[in-house]
C-alpha cells in the first residue's frame, strides 16, 4: 500500500476529538513561558535564599556552581575507590567529557563494591532474582531459553579455547564471563 493510501485510512477528524482546540493560543509561539523580563534577577545570584541545609554527608559540587545549593540529597555519599574517582571527576567542569566518563567508570567499579559489601555482610546477592527472572519465566520463556543457550554455548567455547591453549603449554587468563 502506498504511504498516501495508508495515511488516508488512518486520518482522524479533529472536530470529533474531545477537547479539540481548547488550549489553542496564538501567543504560544514559539517561546512562552521562557523569560519574563520583569522577573529577571537584577544582579546574578540575588534572590532571597532558602535556609541552608546543614552538610551532614559529603556532597560533591559542580565547579560551575559558585556555592552549594540550599538543599541537597543525602543518598549514598561517595565512598571507596569509586568515591575517590568521583571526587576526581568533580575537579573538572560539566563541559568536559572526562568529567562524565570518569563518573561512568566509577559507576562500574561501584557495582563490584556493591557485591563485595553484600558478601562482607554475609549475604550472597541473588542476582537472577534482582534481574527479574521470575517475570522472565512468566512472560518470556522462549527468550530465557535462548539467552541460557547462547550463554552456555559461549562459556563452553571459551572453556574449550582455554583448554586448547593450555595444551600448547602457554598460560592465558580466563576470558571475562559475558553478561
Amino acid at each position: 500500500m502506498s504511504p498516501e493510501a495508508l495515511a488516508a485510512q488512518q486520518r482522524i477528524d479533529p472536530t470529533q476529538v474531545v477537547g479539540w482546540g481548547v488550549d489553542a493560543d496564538p501567543a504560544n509561539n514559539p517561546t512562552y513561558p521562557m523569560r519574563d523580563i520583569s522577573k529577571d534577577s537584577k544582579g546574578g545570584l540575588d534572590w532571597p535564599r532558602p535556609a541552608l541545609q546543614p552538610e551532614t554527608v559529603e556532597v560533591l559540587r559542580s565547579t560551575e556552581h559558585n556555592r552549594r545549593t540550599a538543599v541537597f540529597g543525602t543518598s549514598t555519599p561517595p565512598s571507596g575507590v569509586s568515591g575517590a574517582l568521583r571526587r576526581q571527576a568533580f575537579k573538572s567542569s560539566e563541559g568536559k567529557w572526562s568529567h562524565w566518563l570518569i563518573l561512568l567508570a566509577a559507576d562500574r567499579i561501584n557495582v563490584v563494591e556493591g557485591v563485595a559489601a553484600d558478601l562482607l555482610a554475609g549475604r550472597v546477592p541473588n542476582i537472577p532474582a534482582e534481574m527479574g527472572i521470575k517475570s522472565e519465566v512468566a512472560h518470556n520463556m522462549p527468550g530465557l531459553i535462548r539467552k541460557v543457550a547462547v550463554t552456555g554455548a559461549v562459556l563452553t567455547l571459551a572453556y574449550a579455547l582455554v583448554r586448547s591453549r593450555q595444551g600448547d603449554g602457554r598460560r592465558h587468563p580466563a576470558p571475562p564471563t559475558p553478561r
Binding site: P3, E4, L6, A7, Q10, I12, P14, V17, V18, G19, G21, V22, D23, A24, N28, Y32, M34, D36, W47, P48, P50, Q53, P54, L60, R61, S62, E64, H65, T69, A70, V71, F72, G73, T74, S75, T76, R86, F90, E94, W100, L101, L103, L104, A106, D107, N110, V111, E113, G114, V115, P125, N126, A129, E130, G132, I133, S135, E136, H139, N140
Partner: protein, 385 residues
C-alpha cells in the same frame, strides 16, 4: 522501611532502609501511596546515567500522605494527600521565578545543567526517590499539591510527570490550529503528547514507534495515526510522502537515548557510550519537520553529546524547544483537564505491582513484556483501590 535498592545495571531489589528524616526546615516526610516506574528510570536501570550510585532508591513519580513537616512548612499539614512533582524546586531562585520549576538553581549541587529530581542519580542531586514506603520531600510548600477531592490516586500519580511532560511536549511545539504533529515514541509520554496535541488544536496527529501493542494503544487513546517504523522502513521518507513532501509542522521527540531504529546510533550511543544515548528519534525529528518548523524534545539524553544533523537545523530554520517539564506551573490546568474528562491518565496503567516485587516490575517494563505500558508500585501497607 522497605525501599527499592539499585545494585547495578539491570539489578534492583527491595531492601529495608532507615526512615528518611527532616533535614531542612522546608522538608516534609511523605508516606508513599503510589509510585510509578518511568521510562527515564530505565536509563538509570540500564546504567546510562553518570553518577548513579549503588544503594540509591529511584522513583520520581509518586503520591503520598504527609506524615511530618519541617518548622517552616506552611501550606501542608500532616494527613494531606499530595501529588509530588518530579522536580525539586525552591520557588525563589531566578529560574523558579520564571516558572521554570524544572530548572531550579537551589536543588542540585552536583550539576548546573539540570535541576534536582527525586531518585534520579547524583547528576540530578542525589536524592533518594519515592519507590519506597517513605520519602523526604524538600521545599514542601513549593512543589507538592493537594490531591483534589474525588480524584483517583491512579490519575493523581500520573500528574507527577507523564501528563505534564506529554502536555509540555505539545505546548513547546507551539501547535497552531490545523498543524500536523508527529510524535516519535509510543511510550506513556509519547501517547500523552499525542492526546495533548489535540488540545492545542492540531489538525493531524501521527505517532511513530516499533512496538505494535503500544501503537495499537496510541491509535485508540490519542487518537492518532500510527506507523511502525519497522514496516515503513524509512520514517523520514514516509512522513514526507504523507505530508505533500513538506514535512510536519511540529515533531516531538518522546524517546530519548534508549531509541531503537538505527544501527549506527545504537552502536555509538547505547553500546559504546560515545554518544549520550542513541539520538535516533531526534535525528528523524529534525529531518521530518517542515522548514521553519518546531522540534520539541522531552526525551532524556545524557550530558555529553549526540550525533544529529545540526546543519539541517540551520538550513531548514528549525526552532528547537526542550526542557524538563515544569510540573508545578502546569498542574492547575492539567487537574482541570482530568476533571473535565479531556485527559484520562489512569488508562495508561497496565501493571500494579507490590513494592516487594520491584525487580520483576523493572524487568517487565524494560523488556517490554506482558503488554506493559506503565507500571505502578504500591507499598503493601497501602490498600490498592
Amino acid at each position: 522501611m522497605l525501599a527499592m535498592d539499585y545494585r547495578g545495571p539491570y539489578r534492583v531489589r527491595a531492601e529495608q532502609k532507615p526512615m528518611p528524616e527532616i533535614l531542612h526546615p522546608e522538608d516534609a516526610i511523605v508516606r508513599v501511596t503510589r509510585s510509578c516506574i518511568c521510562g527515564s528510570d530505565l536509563h538509570l536501570y540500564h546504567g546510562m546515567v553518570p553518577d548513579t550510585r549503588i544503594g540509591m532508591t529511584f522513583g520520581h513519580e509518586f503520591t503520598g500522605i504527609v506524615v511530618e513537616v519541617g518548622s517552616e512548612v506552611r501550606n501542608l499539614a500532616v494527613g494531606d494527600h499530595v501529588i509530588v512533582p518530579f522536580n525539586i524546586a525552591c520557588g525563589k531562585c531566578h529560574f523558579c521565578q520564571q516558572g521554570l520549576f524544572g530548572n531550579c538553581h537551589e536543588s542540585n549541587s552536583q550539576a548546573t545543567a539540570v535541576g534536582g529530581i527525586f531518585g534520579y542519580s547524583h547528576t540530578a542531586g542525589g536524592y533518594d526517590g519515592g519507590q519506597a514506603e517513605y520519602v523526604r520531600v524538600p521545599y514542601a510548600d513549593v512543589g507538592p499539591t493537594k490531591i483534589p477531592a474525588g480524584m483517583d490516586l491512579d490519575d493523581a500519580v500520573l500528574l507527577t510527570d507523564v501528563v505534564p511532560t506529554g502536555y509540555q511536549a505539545a505546548e513547546m511545539g507551539g501547535i497552531q490550529r490545523g498543524d500536523t504533529v508527529v510524535v516519535f515514541g509510543a511510550g506513556p509520554v509519547g501517547i500523552m503528547a499525542a492526546r495533548c496535541a489535540w488540545l492545542f488544536g492540531a489538525g493531524r496527529v501521527i505517532v511513530i514507534d516499533h512496538l505494535e501493542y503500544r501503537l495499537d494503544f496510541a491509535r485508540q487513546y490519542g487518537p492518532a495515526e500510527v506507523y511502525n517504523f519497522r514496516s515503513i522502513e524509512d520514517p523520514v521518507y514516509f512522513l514526507k510522502k504523507i505530508t505533500d513532501s513538506l514535512g510536519a509542522d511540529v515533531c516531538i521527540d518522546a524517546v530519548g537515548g534508549d531509541a531503537a531504529g538505527s544501527a549506527l546510533h545504537t552502536l555509538l550511543g547505547t553500546k559504546l557510550k560515545l554518544e549520550a544515548g542513541a539520538a535516533t528519534a531526534l535525528h528523524w525529528a529534525i529531518n521530518s519537520v517542515k522548514k521553519g518548523g518546531i522540534v520539541s524534545i522531552v526525551g532524556v539524553y545524557g550530558p555529553t553529546g549526540n550525533l544529529v544533523p545540526i546543519g539541517n537545523v540551520v538550513n531548514k530554520g528549525i526552532t528547537i524547544r526542550a526542557n524538563q517539564a515544569s510540573v508545578k506551573r502546569l498542574l492547575p490546568r492539567l487537574i482541570e483537564h482530568v476533571q473535565a474528562g479531556r485527559i484520562n491518565p489512569k488508562a495508561l496503567i497496565t501493571h500494579k505491582v507490590p513494592l516487594e516485587e520491584v525487580s520483576d516490575a523493572y524487568h517487565i517494563f524494560s523488556a517490554k513484556l506482558d503488554g506493559c505500558i506503565k507500571p505502578v508500585l504500591v507499598p503493601s501497607s497501602i490498600n490498592v483501590a
